[in-house]
């Protein structure tokens, strides 16, 4: 069980309102990702759910019971922090045992759960080391181990991968996803990285300055962004947004076309431009096209390789069925 419901929740620090009234329901067993640029209030929102910050107004219900005033320890949630927040003077074993010790669990049960967690997370060989002797990925796993032994109703992750290097991040991303598949426990995951959001989430909540811009499955957000912000935030490389007469042709204030939905030709097409930088990744090629008269730069993604170098003239053809249209308020035109 781990359904979390936010009802008209707000948070202010002094005069500054960080979270305007906000409603959100996270269903039991869901992997929910809060994503948004820095300072959008996603970490604050997580801390409100955890109980580390008090809400200014509104209610939080966990499993249908009002938990607005419940202290963090009693909410049945476990949190993994960005800095891991391991206790440096305790061994890995004691770190993992700490929440159970605080709960007054029997030694045998503690040992059983530590062993189970250590096996699941590949930590068996490191149980007697101190956190200082572990690598970043191992520390991350200890932090996760410490949270799973409590068997919480929901896990809260606060940018857990941002201190890891790129290769490790991909690995840990998979491990956390697998953990979710295995435990089927509610997880709330905060990140500023839309790739993490897209790959892991059942449900993505896109936040900007405390407001929820859109809630939906990763593919919903990709195919039907509700506004220009979500359109630009989800997807990599970013969606091309074009304003002016070209947009007016499609009866919109702004049109958006993703780099992967533009065809490139050397001889003919709708738009003409000059290649700026071409990034050859092997599997894909990203071409940045200038001088189209539409926007500063149009990014195009081509599967595979293409002969294109700086200064070449190319023709671009957008796939019209994949085009997004937005009105003058930035909202999607259906």
């Amino acid at each position: 069980m781990g359904q979390i419901q936010l009802n008209q929740v707000t948070k202010s620090f002094g005069d500054v309102q960080v979270i305007p009234p906000l409603d959100l329901t996270i269903e039991d067993g869901e992997f929910c990702v809060f994503v948004g640029p820095s300072g959008c209030g996603k970490s604050t929102l997580l801390r409100l759910i955890a109980g580390l910050e008090d809400v200014s107004s509104g209610h939080i219900a966990i499993n249908g019971k009002d938990a607005t005033m419940t202290p963090p320890a009693k909410r049945g949630l476990a949190m993994v922090f960005q800095s891991y927040a391991l206790y440096p003077h305790m061994t890995v074993r004691k770190n993992i045992a700490f929440p159970m010790k605080m709960a007054g669990m029997s030694e045998d049960e503690q040992k059983r759960r530590i062993d189970a967690a250590a096996t699941a997370l590949n930590l068996t060989d490191y149980l007697d080391r101190k956190p200082g002797q572990l690598s970043g990925g191992q520390r991350q796993r200890v932090a996760i181990g410490r949270s799973i032994v409590r068997e919480p109703d929901a896990f809260l992750f606060d940018e857990p991968l941002s201190n890891l290097d790129a290769a490790l991040r991909v690995g840990m991303r998979l491990e956390i996803s697998e953990l979710h598949e295995r435990l089927q426990t509610t997880m709330i995951y905060v990140t500023h990285d839309q790739v993490e959001a897209m790959t892991m989430a059942d449900k993505i909540v896109v936040l900007r300055s405390g407001y929820i811009e859109q809630v939906g499955s990763p593919l919903d957000l990709y195919h039907a962004p509700r506004n220009k912000f979500v359109a630009g935030f989800i997807g990599s490389p970013k969606m091309n947004l074009i304003e002016g007469p070209e947009a007016a042709k499609h009866e919109a204030h702004t049109i958006g076309i993703r780099p992967e939905h533009i065809d490139v030709s050397k001889t003919e097409g709708t738009w003409k431009g000059v290649v700026g930088v071409a990034e050859h990744l092997g599997s894909d090629t990203f071409i940045h096209v200038h001088d189209t008269g539409l926007a500063d730069m149009i990014t195009v993604r081509i599967i595979g390789d293409i002969e294109a170098k700086h200064g070449d003239t190319v023709y671009l053809t957008p796939q019209l069925d994949q085009m997004h249209r937005f009105d003058d308020k930035g909202l999607r035109i259906a």
Binding site: L52, A85, L86, Y87, H89, P99, M102
Partner: protein, 301 residues
């Protein structure tokens, strides 16, 4: 730019300082050692007449071997002085560390006028030991007009003569007052370096306030506490002024350093006092080694 030339120039320029430091330390130490093996009673008539030849290391003074050492230890005042010293050091350490931790936690809370309060807390450290001891003696602990006496009378109790009836606790109080700022300051900086997420993690893990203190804050402070104990011990073993201006070594407050002072200046027995000085050096080293052993583990981690 470490050329041959600049290196020798550096040596030349450092030489006076090195020389001065050596003389500063080695001369008193060797004189203490020499005196401790001699019979040296500077006010005795025969010794005054024969005069002391400083240049040739006092040929007129008789070598007495370890007689001074034997006499210093066999004196009835020796063991009480050692235990008084240890009680004083131990008492002050306990008071300063315990209250230092509490004050550090208090000062770490965000509050109005934090900067000013911090300066106030540090203030006692700037007062000279002699002055602060006199202030305590006359302002607080005076049996007739001291503030403590008024406090006692306010609650209907009969004021006591603190410095004679409770001499050791009074002196521990005075010295603790002086050293509390030092402990507080070091512990405060240590507490400020504690990662807030660790406390939040402990809170999520179900640890209430006192357990967070015991399992997270206290271990984090371990190293700072070690440093406070080490540094304070070194200075507290040599406490003198506070005893001199308050009890004059009476009422069971005669520490080792005060005993040495009495042997040299009140009994005018330089040899005996020097032997005591050598014992004090040995005691300080024993304590230091023990502390290093106990807390060394802490510093490694």
């Amino acid at each position: 730019m470490a050329t041959q030339h600049s290196r020798s120039a550096a040596r030349l320029m450092m030489a006076p300082a090195v020389f001065l430091l050596l003389v500063w330390m080695l001369v008193p130490l060797s004189l203490t050692l020499i005196f401790s093996f001699k019979k040296f009673l500077p006010l005795r008539g025969d010794q005054i007449e024969s005069g002391w030849d400083w240049v040739t290391f006092f040929p007129s003074l008789d070598w007495v071997g370890f007689a001074n050492y034997g006499r210093f230890v066999s004196s009835s005042a020796f063991w009480p002085a050692v235990s008084t010293t240890l009680i004083l050091v131990g008492g002050v350490l306990i008071v300063t560390v315990v209250f230092g931790i509490l004050l550090a936690i208090l000062l770490n809370q965000p509050m109005w006028g934090q900067g000013f309060v911090r300066i106030l807390v540090i203030a006692p450290f700037f007062v000279m030991p002699t002055v602060s001891a006199l202030v305590w003696k006359n302002m607080f602990m005076d049996p007739n007009n001291g503030l403590f006496s008024h406090l006692w009378r306010f609650f209907g109790a009969e004021p006591i003569s603190f410095l004679s009836e409770a001499a050791m606790p009074s002196i521990i109080l005075i010295v603790s007052w002086q050293w509390l700022p030092f402990a507080t300051l070091i512990l405060l900086t240590a507490i400020q370096s504690l990662d807030g997420e660790q406390l939040e993690a402990a809170e999520m893990d179900g640890a209430p306030v006192l357990k967070r203190f015991w399992y997270i804050i206290l271990p984090h402070l371990g190293r700072a506490i070690t440093i406070v104990i080490l540094i304070q011990t070194i200075f507290l073993l040599a406490i003198f002024a506070e005893i001199f201006v308050t009890t004059g070594g009476a009422f069971g407050t005669r520490t080792l350093s005060y005993l040495i002072f009495q042997r040299v200046l009140e009994s005018q027995n330089v040899g005996l006092g020097s032997a005591g000085g050598v014992y004090a050096i040995i005691l300080a080293n024993i304590v230091a080694i023990f502390l290093m052993r106990i807390v060394g583990k802490n510093l490694d981690a």
